[in-house]
Subunit: 219 residues, 2 copies
């Protein structure tokens, strides 16, 4: 069942309000199809936007990184952060330049990151992150040791304040443009996996696991 | 010929310095293969990260949007901005969880956006933006009229201060992990175009143009 969500003045879409999605479940489906986010934070008055992977559990996002990285060091101070996930679905080739657009789905989460201190939550968050990117991989990998866990920071960002925006469907041209002599339509775009490339030091007899062979982001 | 570039303290990579690319031409190749960027800016102490398309001409990035949008209204005030472009090339499935990674190429540009007032530069920037996304489309579309140009704002961000980061190549595992019994290798990822879908109101005799039929981001 869809949970109700009331946007704040900061996350209510004013323009293109028809593209707004104020439905937590719908936003989570977008988050779960992606695994790359762009994290925005401030360093001495300058915004930085850094790409990184993420995981989700219930109403929390998790990101991780080297404990020594600029991003992780900044964010664990409890500063405001913005995490944006964008899925690109296609180019909308209208008859007029002005009505060109993109089909996409995006979620913008505003919040404050908290360092995950609890060792159980930390390892669980790392597992979620891994499973979010490629389900099935965690259990077949050599697990993190103490030294590696210490070198890794995990941050939790609650999904309290967010907006989601979706543009889908066909070209929408001005009525007088439909007779304009050009091709019009949708060019679908999708992130696709190619054939897995085995490591040169791998035993050639070892088979490619199904999660790599049939990798897809569609959920 | 590659232009020299000296990073600032804000854009010098300290960690994973081997992934740093301080070469303007290499950074521009990354920018030119992408067309979706994530723009970071500040509104009352809160960072926002918004996806949008972009174009490039020489050492300038151009973004555009409705003159009424929050992003455009904020940015034309001459506030600090960060524009990040990320190309995802694959998942790096190492033997240990810790050495899992992604192959990617990204560019982070720090700067200040300026509103493009000059009508000639504005239309040229819109043409660049369109040609950056889908070369060949501009000339075949109904051109912007006065009303549409007025409703659109274009911003220029100089590519003065930037960093680029690239992770490419195979899995790198700890020596003692190479005997760990799991599959390891690269899962390539690529944004691919599907078959163009003609608009329902299009004359069925009109052929799909080559730029849509054979669309590729590879440059």
């Amino acid at each position: 069942m869809s949970q109700p969500y009331t946007p704040t003045p900061r996350t209510r879409l004013v323009r293109e309000a028809d593209r707004a999605v104020y439905d937590r479940e719908a936003a989570y489906r977008i988050l779960d199809e992606g695994f790359l986010c762009h994290v925005g934070f401030l360093v001495e008055g300058q915004p930085f936007v850094i790409p990184t992977s993420f995981g989700r559990k219930n109403d929390s996002l998790y990101i991780h990184g080297s404990a020594a990285s600029r991003m992780l060091r900044q964010l664990k101070e409890g500063v405001p952060v913005c995490i944006t996930v964008t899925l690109l679905d296609g180019l909308v080739l209208a008859r007029s330049i002005f009505n060109h657009s993109m089909n996409y789905r995006s979620v913008v989460v505003l919040g404050t990151a908290t360092l995950v201190d609890d060792p159980d939550e930390k390892i669980e968050a790392l597992r979620l992150l891994s499973e979010h990117i490629i389900p099935g991989r965690w259990a077949e990998s050599r697990q993190p040791n103490e030294r590696e866990l210490k070198a890794t920071s995990v941050l939790r960002v609650p999904i309290d304040e967010f907006s989601a925006k979706v543009r889908t469907g066909p070209v929408i041209d001005d009525e007088e443009d439909y007779s304009f002599p050009t091709w019009a339509g949708i060019l679908p775009l999708e992130m696709k996996a190619g054939l897995p490339i085995a490591d040169s030091r791998l035993d050639p007899a070892r088979e490619v696991p199904a999660y790599a062979k049939h990798y897809s982001r569609k959920r």
